[in-house]
Symmetry: C2
Subunit: 193 residues, 2 copies
């Protein structure tokens, strides 16, 4: 944790626990990567995955945002899992339950062939356990056009909001329905090609 990654607002929801951080990264499917280009923020959604203490993203080596990462700029990566809609009795206390991550880091271009293949296999195994052993392996050309970046999971914070509404004592007696509608990301059964 650094001053940059320290949570300033909503500190009661903040955590720097690495096991929690990793679990959120692993459960989420999409992150957002931000860089600064001439003083203008540029953010893009991206798939991501984790191996050990690094978060990985991949894409075309021609991607403009990745060019900033290659130049050594520290990126800001976020991800957020929505867990619930919180209905309070008061309009003001309505909120969402969530688990989110904000990570700052410089991206390392993964070039060594054995490592690159291993981390891409890990991405497939995130889709479905053992998938890397089932799919037709990548060709040399397919490996070459895929850029893979590793970001250290070090300068990172999590925020977690959970539980029910926190109405003021004087609102608790109001005859207004309240509670939580849980939200979940459901992966359905395979629709064969």
């Amino acid at each position: 944790m650094t001053e940059r990654s320290r949570v300033k607002r909503g500190r009661k929801k903040a955590s720097y626990d690495r096991t929690l951080v990793n679990s959120i990264i692993d459960e989420a499917w999409v992150c957002n990567i931000g860089v600064s280009v001439d003083g203008q923020a540029l953010v893009q959604p991206s798939s991501h995955w984790r191996v050990g203490d690094e978060l990985f993203v991949h894409g075309s080596v021609k991607n403009g945002l990745f060019q900033q990462v290659i130049k050594g700029q520290t990126a800001c990566i976020t991800l957020c899992i929505l867990d619930g809609l919180v209905f309070a009795r008061s309009a003001y206390e309505h909120s969402v339950n969530f688990r989110s991550i904000v990570l700052f880091g410089k991206g390392r271009l993964v070039e060594e062939p054995t490592e690159k293949r291993a981390v891409l296999d890990a991405l497939l195994d995130k889709y479905s356990a053992g998938r890397s052993q089932e799919a037709r392996p990548p060709t040399e050309k397919e490996m070459r056009v895929t850029a893979v970046f590793a970001f250290p999971i070090e300068e990172v914070s999590a925020k977690v909001s959970s539980g029910g509404p926190t109405d003021l004592p004087e609102d608790l007696e109001l005859d207004i329905w309240s509670g939580v509608k849980p939200v979940s990301n459901v992966i359905g059964e395979l629709i064969p090609d």
Copy 2:
């Protein structure tokens, strides 16, 4: 659409259709807002909602990121809905189906009381139709500590990836399972407080 918001990579998936853009913004619950602070990107997840041609976010007026918005910096806002995991026969063609938005815009601080109340009501009605008429209305103080920003939905692009895997012709005969596992965000029944 401007040069900045023109999709450079994956152009076949790009769209600038406003109806499509609005539908993605409306369905998503969380966006990511990025600004640049001294050349460093700073991105934060945030709830958002839409009224007309503007995307709204709210939070504490003390939020450091919002300070950049108040100063007039153009923010970059993204959101992404995951629709499916695409299992190809080849490792390389694995992908995700998604609908995403990248929006550039300056945020307008919503201060006029009638407008501010109306857009906050619209947020509650996104949670549940008619909720703004059920909940205990905000007090003047609750209104004052909530900062609301409106971003014009103008400099915006969408990307949509859908359908099944696109394996190479020579891979189609391989005896490897393939297809799409649909992913959906499910809002459950209320768990009363």
